[in-house]
Point group: C2
Chain length 642, copies 2
């Protein structure tokens, strides 16, 4: 029984402009997303379950509940419980899309193991099972609250999508304990890894119990007071090594932050929680801080793919414009967090700029994180590689695989919203849905070949005519957008929502045309790695060059020139069906560089022979024979003399 499979339920939130449309109300029928979700159900969720078992993630719960006598050895991180939680959440949203008895049975089994591991007072964190004295002692590194957050999110998703509430009851019990332990007159502390904040707000939305919102707000308010500075000398050393208070976003109060810093996932999850708190409380000083962080992120620290995090060892943001390509961090989880944050900012405001970033991260930085067959994953997503970085079936720290699973499973929930004024379309894909607006059913059908083509037919049908606005997102990436509607052509402004208001009847159609030329993007000159390089982009997709498409040269040796146009070609048999982009390229003569690292500038030589440079979407790289890959491609543009 599907009840309400909202991802973020702003149905009753006082400061959200947009109300959710449930995952189960949207039916993707396109050639881009629908096959991915099929693979998610057929391959990703079953293989992840197997890996959760093989790597002792489920056994941790069995051990805690006494079914196993010794602590399982293959799971080594204290936050490993969360892999199971995220997998349950992914299954829940998958079940919202379509019934699946096998998956449902697996979920029931795993949920039973989780619940059995809960302690009497509600505590549920297998690492410290039965060791009350260790609880809440090392919030800097211990991830108890982080784990609670994922438990709560999984429980809410399962309840919303299946109506089953055993896990929700367990989550509530744990949340009650947390709310009882932490507070202004109780234990003062903040989670070393944010996550529980957004989960607690969602639990407040689910249950109406204001304590969870208060606890989430408490964690936000206490942050930045240095509470995370460890006393233990060994932990302190690690804390300092990673970047201290700034790494944990604890160097100043949230409202005073003006630069996005620290561990990228921590930072973006914290922003998700803060946005959720704003949505429920309307505290504008929180929103102002969020906007400063968003501007700094988007204008100074975000990869062109929407990825986040520049420092591969500390997994953190770097300085402004510090965006290395080969040694990018760009963790899949951070890209997912970027989608989650921008989704919340969009719900709060209805501002298209948030939808633009959400779409960018989704199609590029997130999607690169999973293989075409749905069984291998990237943890880091470099933007240039020599063919060494390959997707793996699992990781010792396996946060990314189930995280991308839960995002993809819930994806239909990101396509539409409703507001007082009407219905909003954020993302484009062939799909059909029945959306409830003011209690009345609005049927919407999209027909499109997006993202390969910028034409979208949107058809609305309803039994009785109702007046409302249809808000259509005009992507910020498009050069020119047109709508054909009631025999008129209207020019639309990219980077906005176009509003069509009327009393809609049955069978109304709007045809959108987003011009989708190949664009060459350049980066701010202080992104020193990208100087005199371009990224090829078409529509929402960032392209790259990969060795396999270029038999004549290592793609790191190619140079694009400014005078040539790209040609586009849809190749349905290639990499699940992609539009490739082709151009001629110059080639650096590597022989001129044999056993040389530096030489005088006159000695650089280009080969006489030109080759074809074939761009493929970045998200499909590393699905074939390993070879060099590059997003920022050397580019020569003739310039006036001095």
């Amino acid at each position: 029984m599907v009840m309400n499979s909202h991802v973020v339920d702003t149905s009753r939130s006082p400061c959200a402009l947009l109300r959710p449309v449930a995952v189960n109300d949207v039916k993707l029928e396109d050639r881009f997303w629908a096959p991915r979700i099929e693979k998610l159900v057929a391959n990703t969720l079953p293989t992840q379950y197997k890996l959760l078992e093989e790597t002792d993630r489920i056994n941790r719960f069995r051990w805690a509940s006494g079914k196993l006598s010794s602590k399982p050895e293959k799971s080594i991180y204290i936050f490993d419980d969360t892999d199971a939680y995220k997998w349950v959440e992914a299954c829940a949203f998958a079940l919202a899309q379509a019934p699946n008895p096998e998956i449902e049975k697996l979920v029931d089994q795993v949920v039973a193991e989780i619940i059995a591991a809960q302690e009497e007072d509600g505590y549920l964190f297998t690492e410290y099972h039965g060791q009350k004295s260790r609880r809440w002692r090392n919030l800097t590194l211990d991830h108890e609250l982080y784990s609670a957050g994922h438990l709560i999110q999984a429980a809410i998703a399962l309840h919303r999508t299946t109506g089953k509430r055993a896990l929700l009851d367990a989550a509530i019990k744990f949340a009650n304990l947390i709310s009882a332990v932490f507070g202004p007159d109780r234990l003062r502390g903040v989670p070393g890894h944010p996550e529980v904040e957004m989960a607690l707000v969602e639990l407040y939305r689910e249950t109406g119990d204001i304590r969870y919102l208060e606890t989430a707000s408490f964690f936000l308010e206490e942050r930045g007071k240095g509470l995370l500075k460890p006393i233990d000398q060994e932990v302190l050393r690690l804390y300092n090594f990673l970047g201290g208070a700034e790494y944990l976003i604890d160097s100043k109060p949230f409202r005073e932050l003006d630069e996005i810093v620290g561990h990228a996932v921590r930072s973006l999850y914290l922003n998700c929680g803060a946005t959720d708190i704003f949505i429920e409380t309307g505290d504008k000083t929180i929103f102002e801080a969020l906007m400063r962080l968003w501007n700094n992120f988007v204008n100074c620290k975000m990869y062109v793919t929407g990825a986040a995090g520049s420092r591969y060892i500390s997994e953190s943001f770097g300085e402004n414009y510090e965006l290395p390509n080969t040694k990018a961090y760009a963790e899949t989880c951070a890209a997912i967090a970027n989608v989650m944050w921008n989704w919340r900012m969009l719900l709060a405001t209805g501002d298209a700029k948030f939808a633009d970033i959400m779409e960018l991260a989704l199609y590029n930085a997130v999607l690169s994180g999973i293989s075409l067959d749905g069984t291998r994953y990237f943890y880091v997503n470099p933007l240039a590689d020599r063919g060494k970085t390959r997707r793996q079936p699992w990781f010792p720290c396996a946060c990314c695989p189930p995280n991308i699973a839960r995002l993809l499973a819930s994806l239909p929930g990101y396509f539409y919203s409703v507001s007082e004024e009407g219905v909003w379309i954020h993302l484009y894909a062939s799909s059909s849905q029945k959306i409830s607006y003011e209690g009345k059913a609005v049927e919407i059908v999209q027909k499109t070949n997006y993202p390969w083509d910028g034409t979208v037919d949107v058809t609305l049908s309803m039994v009785e005519g109702i007046e409302f606005s249809l808000f259509l997102r005009i992507p910020g990436w498009c050069s020119r957008a047109l709508a054909k509607f009631e025999d008129k052509e209207v020019n639309l402004k990219p980077g906005t929502y176009a509003e069509f208001r009327k009393k809609w009847g049955p069978g109304e159609k709007i045809t959108l045309s987003f011009e989708m030329p190949v664009k060459l993007l350049v980066a701010h000159p202080h992104v020193t790695n990208d100087f005199h390089r371009v990224t090829i982009k078409r529509g929402p997709l960032v392209y790259c060059l990969e060795r396999e498409d270029c038999p004549d040269a290592d793609v790191w040796n190619l140079i694009l020139r400014d005078e040539n146009e790209f040609t586009t070609e849809y190749r349905k048999d290639l990499l699940g069906g992609v539009v490739v982009l082709k151009n001629k390229a110059l080639v650096v003569d590597e022989n001129a560089w044999k056993e040389r690292l530096y030489q005088e500038s006159e000695e650089t030589v280009l080969k006489e022979k030109k080759v074809e440079a074939t761009g493929i979407p970045y998200y499909v790289w590393a699905n074939r024979t390993p070879g060099s890959m590059i997003v920022w491609i050397p580019y020569i543009k003739n310039r006036p003399k001095l």
Copy 2:
């Protein structure tokens, strides 16, 4: 009483082509190095002594010898003894250059504290003083052998330069203990941080005791067998985090290494030790491995400044061509290690390519590590900066300051060598020296304004005529080299030693002219950060642009064009006297980038106004008001169309 102040005493080494000329035999009288060594004695050594006291480095010894009852708290690293050892070594070489009663008195005091801390059986490592059970237990991280290496080097230097042997006796006692503990039929282990290998070989040279050479060889042979993999789980986690066996250069036997990997200082110190072992044993398989490592380093992993180490957190080498500029590691100690290694390779072979790299690292990567007044230091040496990286008076991990002190103090010892065939000049600076060749005195006087000017007058005088070859290094960086000798002009080949053989009498003069045009270097195209950028170089000096010389624009916004020539100007009042290089530059219009990180390539705008770009030598950057600095400068070169 100065006895023989050799840095590396190859006087009796069977497989060294070159024999040393002692530090005290060379008198630098130039405007480049001599003032630096004056400041070393006047500022660096006394301030370092104060800091050694203030930061409890000396107190560690006092505590170990029972003079202090509790362990000093301000010194936190277990290898902190070595800061005192390196300072003693620096003082010893300074005393070889000129007597200095104050420094000598300080050294005597510090040496007394060190010796008093030695345990009865010779063990000397304050961290484990009196805790026999902790000795040699965690070679991976514990630095006992590293510390022994620096003790031995300091002791040898002090003995060679002052004749005082108390510290040498202490070092011998410790070396005897090490040789008794480690061996094929005894404890099998290798130092986590190489250093003791070259020290033991030098002790063998100093004492003739073959055991030390055997122990050094044993350490080299045992390396690469995985002995450094820790058993303790916590240590294992750190080991894996840093890069495991490869980080410690323990992933394969030394003779099988074909790529320079791991922690840069560890790696280069190991190569120093291996070269020393080759010099004493003639084992060609070691030399072959060294050449593979050298070629890989110089052709794929060395910064244009001669700096080493690409990864700022693990302090290690990266992949081939991985050479980030802002987040470079490029530790001062690694550059010093580069000088030390190439010096040994040069002693072994007499091949000028090693002298070229030694000179490059010395003038650029090493010298950047110390401020003009000799009291502040860089640990990392970035090649591009926003003005945030500043030299510091000291560091919690203070390896670099006394390391650069000992190198500068011993610098005269790197200028000349002697071989069976004659006398070698490696470095150029106004100086006068009396060198012993086959028991006869050869007086050499250099007059030059090197490195600002490529003219060098070399005058030889000796009482009785003797026949030998004079080998003059023709730097690899020069475009054209001439010698005027006996009224003839001879063309010389850059990157070689030019040999002049005759029976030399009194007052013979050779005038060398090294053409020293401004050169623009480009980097291998796979150094992605440096694409379409140039480094300005003149003679041995790498140049940079710094904000203070460019009032009209942030130097990160400048772009050089290919059509303009640089002008040179010697400015004696600037930064201790430097030649500046000037050119016109285009300027990126930052307004076109306001609140933008990426935009379409057509939208990049250059300001109409051109500005003057003034290059200063890289080694003097960050000696004025903090501001942006850049070595690899954007460069536009028009190219033929496709």
